[in-house]
Amino acid sequence: MIELVDLTKKFKQMYAVKNLNMFIERGEIVGLLGPNGAGKSTAISMLSSLVEPTGGDVRFDNKSILKNPAAFRKIVGMVPQNIALYTDLTAEENLLFFGRIYRLGGKELNRKVDEVLEQIGLTDRRKDVVKNFSGGMQRRLNIGVAMLHDPEMLIMDEPTVGIDPQSRNYILETVKRLNEERGMTVLYTSHYMEEVEFLCDRIYIMDKGNLIASGTKDEIKQILSSEKTILIRADRINGKFVEALEQHSLINRVTIGEKEVTILVPREANVFSEIIKLAESTGLELLSVDNKTPTLEDVFLHLTGRALRD
């Protein structure tokens, strides 16, 4: 359906996106993962024809959309990271305005507005001014506006930033439902790994403008097939212990949290006894040492040496 070919965007001497290649098939939910500044939003802006790339192409059904984006725009709904709404207007007025912008009118528009309000759970708040909504409700309406014209594909740029867990779950469930019930294609960007794990069939991981991994969840986790993750919890992590871990020949990577240390070691290595010895010798009181199932976060850590939310 959509194909990005060597897509590049350069601002002065800096590459925001460099030679990005990806594809999205109809009915898929594809995740685009990366920390802040990875180039996700720029990639989305080029994909949605809002920003002209420095190089490469965006193809929709094998036709470039760079010169003539109209056909693609018809089938795409964009959910930007910002609340792209008129906060002084009511929910209904916003939907009516954007509906008319999408050339809907009369009964069809009213029916669509009712339907969208129902889908996003705001029917009883339709007459309320948006600025009085909670962050979660504004996010839901932000999604609702993108669905007014029945798009085949939704592009969602971090749609759950800064909202409460309940609203977040509601949004994730809504996206899942739209995909399952209507076969809607979704490109979902986030730096919340668990959202992408929950929603997406395939995942692309970006960092510093480059694509660093892609595939299904399992395929990506396979990147860690030669290693395993061990989580060490303690009352207080001390410097000597961390230093000892870093100098240990079997330990590939050490990431320090407030009360925990995550280490990557070869899959076949048995380091439990080594860890206990190191804790004893450095005066650390261990709470637990666990083998951890690899997550996308671990993959990202493995690939970049940084946590996603750094």
């Binding site: 939003s41 720029t42 989305i44 802006s45 949605s48 024809s49 809002l50 920003v51 002209e52 109209a70 725009r73 018809k74 795409v76 964009m78 930007p80 990271q81 910002n82 609340i83 792209a84 709404l85 008129y86 002084d88 207007l89 007025e93 305005f97 954007f98 008319r100 912008i101 999408y102 050339r103 001014v129 506006v145 993108a146 014209h149 740029d157």
Partner: protein, 418 residues
């Protein structure tokens, strides 16, 4: 589609009462304050400046005229004396001066009080007088003798000005200069045998904004126009502010992704700016008409000026929007609202008719949209037709075109980068 953008803009204004108050209540309050501060009476269209003049006569003009005519019989043939007797009323200098100072045209801003020579010192102590005009003894006799017999130099009036009332004294001085010119003219014509009967005192031109050869323009009318054309400029800034926030929040991108041409959006801003400027202007003028009775002689001409001025405000709105999109900052809009609009208001004469100081300033003032609008409105109010304001209308249209062209060049080609 453009209508949807205009309607949305209207809703946004409507939902923002503070802004509505600024657009509508502020100019009305300013009109009231400025009009009142300059002493205008909104109901009877009186002048913003009041003056008092003391006319102090040391002699009696009627007796001096009679004496002059009696003496004339000894010097001229009877036919000539009869001819002069027939025109003596128009030649009597003090009568002429009084007819000017006490005429109906100036009575609403000039009060003339008569005193005898014994009251001079008392009047000098009274600061309320702008000037004391002293008529020396045998002044009229000497003037007539100078005109008819060419015997003596014309006598002079003794004028004492109140230095604390500089603007007013300059007006009185102007009056007297005019009067002096009339006397000199009379003397010259008399000496050259031209019929003295034809001499008339010309209408007086002063330096007060409210005096004109046609319909007078009161301070209330002036400031209604001045404040309106100034405040409507802020509407351009407000629309640009909304447009920039549409960009900031990605609403503009949403509109572009709905396959709406950027030119439709562009035209939406231009049209919204023009329509809301028109509505704002009409509301303020309607209020001034209802409350202060300020009305234009020709409504069609008034509507043409209002539309042209509104179009220039629409042009400004779209230019500011395009520049803020291009610079990715609303600094340009803030700079316009805080500095440029005020500067334009001063240059355009919204606070004071500074164009009266020099023709150059007048020309510069007319090269601002508000200044051109103000001049056009004032000209209409004074009774001139559309022919008298073609320059101003042309400027407003050209200004609108120029702003639209520059805005179109600056406007982003696609959406805007995230």
């Amino acid at each position: 589609m453009i209508w949807q953008i205009i309607k949305k803009q209207g809703l946004l204004f409507w939902r923002n009462p503070q802004q509505l108050l600024l657009f509508l209540a502020l100019p009305i309050i300013l009109i009231a304050i400025l009009g009142a501060a300059l002493g205008s009476d909104f109901q009877n269209e009186s002048s913003p400046i009041k003056m008092k003049v003391a006319l102090l006569e040391h002699g009696e003009e009627q007796k001096e005229i009679e004496q002059f005519l009696a003496d004339l019989h000894e010097k001229l043939p009877t036919e000539a004396v009869v001819a002069i007797e027939n025109t003596i009323d128009t030649m009597a200098p003090i009568r002429s001066l009084r007819s000017v100072l006490e005429s109906e045209e100036v009575s609403n801003f000039l009060e003339v009080n008569h005193f005898g020579s014994s009251e001079k010192e008392e009047i000098k102590d009274d600061d309320s007088y702008t000037a004391i005009i002293e008529v020396p003894e045998s002044f009229s006799y000497d003037v007539l003798e100078s005109i008819v017999l060419e015997k003596t130099e014309p006598p002079t009036l003794l004028v004492t000005y109140n230095e604390e009332q500089q603007v007013r004294t300059s007006i009185i001085s102007n009056f007297l200069t005019q009067f002096q010119e009339q006397l000199t003219k009379g003397s010259f014509l008399g000496k050259n045998g031209i019929d003295l009967y034809t001499i008339e005192i010309q209408p007086i031109k002063g330096q007060v904004i409210s005096i004109n050869e046609k319909n007078p323009v009161s301070a209330s009318s002036y400031y209604t126009i001045g404040m309106t054309v100034m405040n409507v400029l802020f509407l351009a800034g407000a629309i640009a502010y909304y447009a920039f926030h549409e960009k900031e929040l990605n609403v503009f991108n949403r509109i572009i992704l709905a396959n709406v041409s950027r030119w439709v959006y562009f035209m939406g801003i231009l049209t919204a700016g023009t329509i809301f400027a028109f509505i704002q202007t009409m509301i303020i003028f309607t209020f001034s008409w209802l409350v202060y009775g300020i009305s234009f002689p020709n409504i069609v001409d008034f509507l043409i000026v209002t539309f042209s001025f509104s179009l220039s405000v629409g042009g400004l709105a779209v230019l500011l929007s395009a520049l803020s999109y291009r610079l990715n900052s609303e600094t340009i809009t803030n700079f316009f609202m805080n500095i440029i609009a005020t500067l334009l208001a001063v240059l355009g004469g919204s606070f004071y008719p500074i164009g009266d100081f020099s023709p150059l300033i007048q020309t510069i003032g007319n090269m601002t949209p508000n200044g051109a609008g103000l001049t056009a409105y004032l000209t209409l109010l004074r009774g001139d037709g559309i022919a008298g304001i073609t320059d101003n209308l042309m400027f407003l249209v050209m200004f609108s075109l120029l702003t639209v062209i520059v805005a179109a060049i600056c406007f982003p080609k696609r959406g805007v980068a995230a």
